[in-house]
């Protein structure tokens, strides 16, 4: 099992979610973060362009069985690239080993519980 963490543009959350659902990945956890990478976003403050040093991002956490890692990653990649055309700041995916997963409701463990 792996834990896939994807940091994406906040405003691509909807399309990524749709792509994941289409790919059969229905369970995710989303939180807000702010990031500092190569990307730049501009805001305007009283007639001055401002480049915030932390850019708002959405952070997705998706626990998947090994077989689904690629499906998940591909879904995210496609969804973001389709809408983005290589603009800087699309985000990142991190994949981490996941040793155990427990469904609280039933107590099921392992890949059953994902």
């Amino acid at each position: 099992m792996k834990l896939v963490v994807a940091i994406i543009r906040e405003n691509q959350l909807d399309q990524v979610r749709e792509a994941l659902i289409q790919a059969g990945i229905e369970r995710i956890t989303v939180s807000y973060g702010s990031g500092h990478g190569r990307s730049k976003s501009e805001e305007i403050y009283r007639g001055q362009k401002v480049v915030p040093n932390l850019i708002p991002n959405a952070r997705l956490e998706i626990a998947v069985n090994d077989a689904f890692v690629d499906i998940t990653c591909d879904a995210i990649i496609n969804a973001t690239q389709a809408n983005d055309g290589g603009l800087i700041g699309s985000g990142k995916i991190f994949v981490m080993p996941l040793e155990e997963c427990i469904r609280l409701r039933t107590g099921e463990r392992g890949s059953e519980a994902i």
């Binding site: 906040e10 405003n11 691509q12 909807d14 399309q15 807000y32 973060g33 702010s34 976003s41 501009e42 805001e43 305007i44 915030p52 040093n53 932390l54 708002p56 809408n83």
Partner: protein, 443 residues
């Protein structure tokens, strides 16, 4: 003081002919500092409704659109004020031109001819003009709720400018100017004390037309969209209620009995509407929501707007309650039909305004009916009902057709619906380069 008494009586009579004859004064009139004080206050109160509306609407959209939605109310303050001063007041309260389509008086251009006018009610005409200006601001700002979250900022600006000029000003002229044709319908005119037809029905109907013309938001309705800040919506509703005292009680253009009657009706209808909504929801859903409560406030306030001058507290109670029932049903229906009238501009303002304009007929003060019967013999509830229905239908038809025409033209020129990218990214970042709540992301 005698004069004061006399002018009070006079005003009681004028009450239901709102704004009529106010301009008729030939002899110089003394300023009534008390009436002026209340009209100045009312002007401030109605202005307070604009940030109130911005909060009400702003809290209901998604986080990414909060500033854009609030800007719809705020820019109306900018654009409509300037237009009103330049030509709106003239179009609304000038002499009939083009067969009475709207009014015009060169004097009113830039308000330059009224610099020292005192109206027959004893208030400077400037105050009346500024009070009325607020109505011209609120009306288009209300529409914005219907197509929230998917309108381009530039398109919106053009839309409200045109809408104000072509829909609002003529309607206002018809209903409130002394030579307006709705003002002269029937025995004592179509009753629209404080703008049920002019403001709420027209805005509600225009909103519905615009919502349909623009189409639904992307992924509506299958993706539920959660209000970003119901707390703000509640506060906004509170400010709207407070401001509505200016809206309704100010529309008596006096500070006396008729003002008090309007204020009382307003308070009662708002409370009744709110209670009814939570009762309905309690029965229907098992939970009484905060949004429901404040929607009920609005429904009650909207419905009492045309009626505030002619009904007693018991009537206000009934009108507020009935309006809520109809608005509640209208919104259920809308959800069934699948129109994306995002914040229910039609469901609340359109339906509430119509309900008020119609139902008020059954609760009119006897003294008013007696006077009407004095003017046109045998005048009765049914005849007045006819007048009210006529006025409502005319307002609906005119705003629907006019709004459609404006949208059609704008769509071919500057564009009115936001780009898909703008809708996805959110109005705030796309059109304004800002975000509403910096505090929710570390920075």
């Amino acid at each position: 003081m005698k004069t004061a008494l006399r002018s009070t009586l006079l005003l009681c009579v004028l009450l239901l002919i709102p704004f009529a004859g106010l301009f008729a004064a030939d002899a110089p009139v003394a300023t009534d500092s008390g009436a002026t004080a209340w009209m100045l206050t009312s002007t401030a109160l109605v202005l307070l409704m604009v940030p109130g509306l911005a909060m009400f609407y702003g809290g209901l959209v998604r986080t990414k659109n909060v500033l854009g939605t609030m800007m719809h109310s705020f820019t109306a303050m900018g654009i409509m004020t300037v237009l009103w001063v330049v030509c709106g007041y003239s179009m609304a309260f000038g002499q009939n031109v083009l067969g009475g389509w709207f009014g015009w008086s060169n004097d009113y251009f830039l308000l330059q001819g009224i610099d020292t006018n005192i109206m027959s009610a004893g208030i400077p005409e400037y105050v009346f003009s500024m009070f009325q200006a607020k109505f011209a601001i609120i009306a288009p700002a209300l529409i914005a709720g219907a197509f929230a979250e998917r309108v381009s900022f530039k398109g919106y600006c053009f839309f409200i400018a045109l809408w104000g000029l072509l829909i609002y000003n003529p309607l206002c002229h018809w209903v409130w100017a002394s030579d307006g044709f709705l003002f002269n319908l029937g025995a004592k005119g179509a009753i629209d004390f404080a703008g049920g037809t002019v403001v709420h029905i027209s805005a509600g109907v225009s909103g519905l037309v615009a919502a349909i013309y623009l189409g639904a938001r992307k992924s509506y309705p299958h993706l539920p969209m959660r209000p970003n800040n119901l707390v703000m919506t509640l506060i906004g509703a509170g400010l709207l209620w407070v401001g509505w005292f200016g809206f309704n009680a100010g529309s008596s253009i006096s500070s006396g009995l008729s003002t008090a009657q309007a204020l009382t009706a307003t308070q009662v209808a708002a409370a009744a509407g709110a209670l009814m909504w939570v009762i309905l929801e309690g029965l229907h859903q098992g939970k009484a929501t905060a949004l429901g409560f404040v929607s009920g406030i609005l429904a009650g306030l909207v419905a009492i707007t045309p009626a505030a001058g002619v009904v007693q507290p018991a009537g206000a109670l009934a009108i507020g309650t009935l309006a809520t029932v109809f608005c509640y049903l209208a919104i259920l229906l809308k959800n069934k039909l699948g129109f994306d009238d995002t914040l229910d501009a039609f469901g609340i303002h359109g339906i509430g305004g119509i309900a008020g304009a119609i139902f008020l007929t059954f609760f009119i003060r006897e003294s008013w009916m007696a006077e009407a019967a004095g003017v046109a013999e045998g005048w009765n509830t049914m005849k007045q009902l006819g007048v009210q229905v006529m006025a409502v239908l005319i307002a609906i038809a005119y705003s629907a057709v006019g709004t459609w025409a404006i949208l059609f033209v704008l769509n071919k020129t500057v564009g009115i619906r936001s780009s898909e990218e703008g809708e996805m990214k959110g109005l705030d970042s796309y059109y304004h380069g800002e975000r509403g709540y910096g505090m929710i992301n570390p920075s």
